[in-house]
Symmetry: C3
Subunit: 489 residues, 3 copies
């Protein structure tokens, strides 16, 4: 019996070996080759990107090339793309010695994730799954959205997992996302253009559950590396600002043409502005002498955008958007001050970037706001045609009322939560299997040295070198003098 326990312990608690020389290249090659094969089997250009476009134009009486969906969607796509790679990437550079890992692994998993997401999107949404047509209109922007879910989850695990684990997390995350999104958007017919539920709630609980299962009791051994330095905080502001500026594009990218996109952008823009003011207020209020904390400014200012993910395309009205942003800035900053330390101490959930405050709480709130706004929608506010367009009350759903829609919206939120928690539990368990994951030991968390060739330090730049050598020289002189005196005496 003792043997079995010992055996179990040795099975589950093998000493960490962060060597990824075989595992990372293997997983990259195998999965990239799999992508090539699957793309070869399933993916084709769609009508708008195929060389037969000119024939397609004649057939469909399209008079001008500007009707090609490329011109409608490409600018929005590029904004979202910048959010994924520069926004999320640089937001994660804030740790003093994990900037390479923050921006680098973000790059790796996003580049893999979007290929897999493109396929999953195609399979779930194509008319004919054997003939997936790629276009920018839906699939490529949606692929970036899928990836966002996994990057949010990465935020909770930053510095504590290996790139191999991240690749696995991404593979499963994208798969779960595609199923969850299909159920929420297609089966339940829920509206969620900016993904408060589908992206943020799912991604955050997925990451938090994994982090809970991978709990590291001795993480304080890496305590000296778990903070920022002056310039790493400035780097993180690059991420924050690009996320903040382009969030209106994120929430409006796949909203309805015309008024839908226009309204989604305005609502998000207003909510974000309000979040900034309340974040500064609470951050200042909570510290001695009113000193502001960069962690709050980098993160909680974005909470308004997260919370408008569902309701942005509804007629929530400009002041409604401001109220949502106002409340979210407060809740999110409060989360960084109180809830994150509480969760770490009592719930054993270590959340490096505080995604619970930036994505989980505002995401859930966004889902609730969306449900309420939908339930209270009326023809007097939207107009008949507007109501039908906004909520897509057509075909099978022609008879759905706003109140019913509100209920379905709430159901969608529950589905997102369930997928996040159950999916996270399964993937967390897989990532804990004693396998050559290459994750760092508790002493080496938050340290780029583990996975990167880190250059010699700032110290060795010449003016300082000189200075140092000067000092060392002095010391040596003194040493010899001292020695001399010792000898003398």
């Amino acid at each position: 019996m003792g043997n079995i326990a010992a055996c179990c312990r040795s099975f589950w608690c093998k000493p960490k070996n962060p060597d990824i020389r075989i595992s990372l290249p293997a997983i990259c090659f195998v999965w990239q080759i799999a992508m090539i094969i699957l793309f070869g089997l399933f993916v084709r250009y769609d009508d708008e990107s195929d060389a037969h476009w000119s024939e397609h134009k004649h057939k469909n009486n399209i008079t001008s090339d500007i009707e090609n969906d490329f011109y409608y969607r490409y600018p929005s796509f590029q904004d979202v793309h910048v959010m994924i790679f520069v926004g999320f990437g640089f937001l994660m550079t804030f740790l003093k010695r994990y900037s390479f890992g923050g921006v680098g692994f973000n790059f790796l998993i996003a580049a893999f994730g979007l290929q897999w997401a493109l396929l999953m999107q195609g399979w779930f949404h194509s008319l004919d799954p054997n003939d997936v047509k790629v276009d920018f209109c839906i699939y490529i922007i949606n692929a970036d959205f899928c990836v966002a879910g996994c990057l949010i989850a990465y935020g909770a695990l930053l510095g504590k997992v290996s790139p191999v684990q991240l690749m696995v997390l991404t593979l499963f995350g994208i798969t779960l996302f595609a199923v969850e999104e299909y159920i929420i958007l297609n089966v339940l017919h829920v509206r969620d253009a900016g993904g408060s539920m589908v992206i943020h709630t799912f991604g955050a609980y997925y990451g938090l559950t994994i982090s809970w299962i991978l709990y590291r009791p001795k993480l304080d051994h890496s305590k000296n590396l778990s903070g920022s330095v002056y310039h790493s905080d400035v780097f993180a502001m690059i991420g924050t600002l690009f996320l903040w500026m382009y969030w209106p594009s994120f929430n409006s990218a796949i909203a309805d043409h015309g008024d839908g996109q226009h309204r989604a952008a305005i609502n998000t823009y207003l909510a974000l502005a309000a979040s900034v003011l309340t974040t500064f207020a609470i951050s200042s209020l909570s510290a001695k002498k009113g000193k502001l904390d960069m962690v709050h400014i980098q993160n909680a200012t974005l909470a308004g955008g997260v919370a408008m993910g569902t309701a942005a395309e509804f007629m929530i009205s400009p002041y409604g958007s401001l109220i949502v942003g106002f409340v979210c800035g407060i809740i999110s900053t409060f989360g960084y001050l109180v809830i994150t330390p509480f969760m770490e101490k009592y719930l054993k959930i270590q959340d490096t970037c505080g995604i619970h405050n930036l994505h989980a709480m505002p995401g859930v709130l966004g889902g609730v706001v969306g449900a309420i706004t939908a339930a209270t929608a009326s023809e007097s506010v939207y107009g008949h045609e507007g109501l039908v367009n906004t909520f897509d009350f057509e075909g099978n759903y022609a008879k759905r009322t706003p109140a019913t829609q509100g209920g379905f919206q709430a159901a969608g939120l529950c589905v997102a939560l369930a997928f996040g928690i159950v999916g996270g539990a399964i993937v967390g368990f897989i990532l804990r299997l004693p396998c050559c994951w290459g994750d760092p030991s508790d002493e080496n968390c938050f340290d780029d040295e583990v996975y990167w060739e880190v250059p010699e330090d700032e110290e060795s730049i010449p003016p300082i070198l000189e200075y140092s050598s000067h000092m060392v020289g002095k010391n040596t002189d003194m040493m010899s003098q001292s020695n001399y005196t010792v000898e003398q005496s």
Copy 2:
């Protein structure tokens, strides 16, 4: 009598207490709540962002959603938005220990300013001030423009004022801007699409006058922090480049559709390119061995864009744009070399970012160039219809001649100057009232420590820690040896 003087002195010269724990949260909450109430009372979606859009389309025979103004203006808006938050924000990170304040307070006041600007724009330009309709077309881009004026003013005060003072400066700045802009553009019917006068001249003299009133005689006590370090200069280049690249969007964002926007972008692009070469030339010419100065490269390269703010949409011709850029690069760099030190020493105007060189002088020059270009416009160059379109010689102004227009342009410049100086004097006086402004003492200027939780320093990253402790160890050893020898002897 002596008592009164002493009393006055103690009234005006209370010791500084940079505690903003009550004042900053209070001002943020009160103003954000005021915004919510005012938006609730006054702001509605306009026809293009309202759910009634589909009915609006039928009524107005609009056939395609692409006619929604969102698709015309959104990309330009995003470029301008990046200039405001990343451009201005990072340009102000150049100080060695005020990068948090530079990019952070820029973020705060821009987020507040654009809400207030949106309201002011609506009240001044809406047909019905009780029913302000928000759209991207005019108000949201214009709100960013208003904010730009206040951020320019912030440049003169960087590191010397508290966030509370900045919020007040922004509130008044936006208000003054709206009145000034209304007088210049609507009453005088002046053209100023890129805001050489309305934005740059006004903003710069507003900031310089405030800085003059808040003059700090002992600012050299913070001298050790008033420069840059290597990497803070690289951060500032992010701001410079995004401003430089997107300036054609800034000057063309609200120009006339079609040829107006097209021409404004080309002219600005050419002027900016010419500024870069003359800035490098003068910077190199002025230093021993021709060494370039990052301050010049970060700022004076942008002067061409400022100076084209008015004339960009006119037929100034490509080589005319190059000449404007050529001259501005020289003047602006020369300003940094000679005028800024002169102003600080003799005029008691402390101008942290040198906005006099980047915005004031090129702005005035831009106004003059605009007036001359307008006065010399002719039907042979513009065509009859082109002349009418470009200068909007319609309705009440149908009989205005180019020469008269030139006169009005010059009058507009004077209005901008007057508003900047008088407004700045009033606001400067308010900001000097002995109140709990929380501004730093002369010793603590340019120091993030005052308002921010600054992380432990680069020094404490492990490789250096090790090294340091090694040295300290050595020293301790030596110390003990020395002591030993002392004892010995």
Copy 3:
């Protein structure tokens, strides 16, 4: 005879004097004035940016301002513009003490280059060279493309040449580019929308040949500055990510309207994603414990975009794009590991940024892929009309077959190579002439101190100052104690 040799030696090997106080301002002023004169003589607004646009509209039955080419091309132009100034600029900040030179000189030569390129483009492509009309449609995007060729060449020479040499390199580079591009695109009627051959192959071999001629045998004297530091690598990632994200815009910017642009963007996007995975794989595989190298991640991840420059607008199919990216990531990373050191040691080619791996090899590969894809094009895949549109088989070329086109594509690649190597040899020879180039000595390469006023160092920020002074104090104390003991003894 000995005298002549000595004379030659003294002629060719004058001691380096990196004083550019006369030469840089002179060259900037002369060239900028020349630009103004030439623009005055030759450049006019085209129909779309002239104030006569409204008359042009009536004449050509254009109903809406949105038909102005500005709205088709401006967003793509801005993406490319960001790649040139932020992408290339920040990619070159990776050296520990050459970040000012990397981003600053990139700014200078790009700003000059685009003016000269605009003129050359106009002269070569205008119907009437005496009346060059500027529009965004072709010339301004193309000007950025020309500049890209010169910036690639700068990559090989980074840190080893003076700004004066760079200006000359750019003048000749743009000129050669214009001729080469005219021959390839117009005379040979080759398709190369993203410039695998025209931009990357030409630029890379141009730079490598110049670097070969300017070989510095004692470059290891600057060895201590030829690497990165932690934060300089993070800065370089800004460049990498903006290049990576916007590369689909680069390859699609001047592709055919409609399906051409759409397909080019998708193909480039897929190739780039595949490159990321294989770069991470090879980088990890090549190092002890699988540690990743930032140099590979910063550069080789972009190789897929380079290699898709020609074939992006063809029907290479999605999985074909993935294969190209897959192969390029491997080749490029392998190049950094093996070929660059080999070239430096045996071929005497010093390639600071490794442009041989990022631009030369993938560029040539891209040309070959393009030739093969063109040669195997068929009506069954493209449709008759699609084939004609894609390869522009019209007018004089109406009878060209895909197979012939493939041959011409290969010929185009040879032309690009020849122009790069021969042009580089001539320009390299000119740059070696004993003249006041102001290039740095071998000891001062990669050092901003030579051309820039470098600010005092991070060391002197207060918390550390304190610490240092504390230590120095200690040492002084010890010193005196030691001295004392010495004296004592």
